[in-house]
């Protein structure tokens, strides 16, 4: 079985994945409550927290799965906050030394890319290779607080980057929009909640980027246009129309994601579509993308909620799913942190 370890940002996570059976179990300690007061993750607080939480998390994991059954340790080695990644790597290397099992480094973004397929594997582990092959080439959209990218996975399970954001990530645009609207942290989920009771057509935010024929994303102009809008309104107006503002702003962000996905699918060379990353939990976004996939006649997959944010299950799974595609770093005890690791080349 593969022990996964993840510490790239503010989540300390451990998981055990059994290629023959599926995810044995997973454990996460989130620091959201701690960072709420700061309006975002504070790096040196986050790394101290990892130091504190990995011990107890591993105790729980080892109470469920005896150490003798672990045959490999998979750890996130980038991208992420350097001090946080280092905590996970030193934990993984210590265990690797103590248990005499290999340690491999996993690219956090590539693990997200494979995360929509964890459920496919769980449904029938023995048939996974055959079922997965039917879905390739695959088009994936990764949407989170730090990344927005369209990519493909080819028949050899190799990932190619098709487009990414020119400025802010989609999740960041939602978080910063929430801040402009006076909502708390993390902002994305609060915007989603308020948006459900608002009118997405109440305010018109620019659609120029969404309508361009290039696949590249750009969200900083939307943030500025929200600012223009708010400056024209009195605090009482903003308060009264907050739901409409959230719905319209979220619609503008998602419209870009949906249109670019449609453009990429219209190229016609992908046999499935998958959504991953923290923003993948948003029901409105899921509905928009599922509709695009249906129209293009390709199966729609979405990572399960426990695999959308930072988690170790996807790290252990990717170490296995990507094992022959060259995506796993086999430096072992010489493994280094790579804070600026990219999803893949173009």
């Amino acid at each position: 079985m593969i022990l996964g370890i993840e510490s790239s940002c503010d989540e300390s996570a451990v998981a055990v994945f059994d290629p023959a059976k599926g995810m044995a179990d997973e454990w996460v300690h989130s620091q959201i409550a701690l960072h709420e007061a700061y309006g975002g993750v504070v790096p040196d607080l986050a790394s101290r927290e990892h130091l504190q939480h990995f011990g107890p998390l591993l105790q729980r994991a080892l109470a469920a799965v005896p150490a003798e059954r672990i045959s490999q340790i998979a750890v996130t080695n980038g991208p992420g906050l350097a001090a946080c990644l280092a905590m996970g790597l030193s934990t993984a290397k210590s265990l690797g030394l103590a248990w005499r099992v290999p340690v491999v480094g996993v690219n956090h973004l590539r693990a997200h890319a494979f995360s929509p397929f964890i459920a496919l594997h769980a449904a029938a582990p023995a048939d996974f290779d055959a079922e997965f092959a039917k879905l390739l080439p695959h088009l994936g959209l990764l949407v989170s607080g730090g990344n927005t990218a369209l990519f493909s996975i080819d028949e050899s399970r190799r990932i190619r980057l098709l487009a990414s954001t020119m400025d802010d990530a989609a999740g960041e645009a939602l978080d910063k929009g929430a801040k402009l609207l006076g909502l708390g942290y993390p902002g994305g989920p609060q915007v989603e909640k308020l948006a459900t009771t608002g009118n997405p057509a109440a305010f018109a935010f620019p659609k120029a980027v969404a309508r361009r024929s290039s696949l590249e994303f750009s969200f900083s102009g939307l943030k500025t246009s929200l600012r223009y809008q708010l400056e024209k309104m009195t605090p009482a107006d903003i308060e009264r129309r907050r739901a409409d503002l959230c719905a319209s702003y979220q619609h503008a962000v998602f419209d870009q994601l949906v249109r670019k996905t449609q453009l990429a699918l219209e190229r016609g060379d992908c046999r499935s579509f998958g959504l991953s990353g923290g923003v993948a939990n948003n029901k409105t976004l899921q509905a928009g993308l599922a509709q695009v996939a249906r129209r293009q006649g390709v199966p729609y997959l979405c990572a399960q909620p426990q695999h959308t944010g930072d988690n170790a299950g996807m790290i252990a799974f990717a170490a296995w799913a990507e094992r022959e595609a060259g995506g796993v770093n086999e430096a072992g005890l010489a493994l280094q942190i790579e804070p600026s690791l990219m999803l893949a080349g173009g």
Binding site: G40, V42, N147, M166, D167, K176
Partner: protein, 146 residues
Amino acid sequence: MDSSISARLRAGVTTASAEATRSLAAELAATLPPDTTLALHGDMGVGKTTFVQGLARGLGVREPVTSPTFAIYNVHRGTTHTLVHLDAYRLEHERQVESLLLEEFLTNPWCLAVEWPEKIAAWLPANAWHLTLSIVDSDRHRVQLR
């Protein structure tokens, strides 16, 4: 610094589009002495990252310059300067800048562009250039050197 752009920025320059803001920053970049810190003041959405994109272009950076909010800082290698783009928004104390090991990346000649500089005011070098960005009205933004 080239006296004309310095004088124009001191008086304040109004730009009518994001592209005009980038061009202005690129023009400034071409006159930057080595090892300059630019403190970019201004609220969310006033165009700080857009300004840094223009700086990057002027410094000969080829890769895209995206928001550093998630990673705190990004390092870009330009043809004339190394550009370090720091977002201090989530830093609470000057002491936290020390732990970023920025000095390791400030290879000579460098340009350090700092968003939310007021968060780490005491850490900034005394000779830092302070630019204030603001919104005049829809599409028109203003950049002024203090």
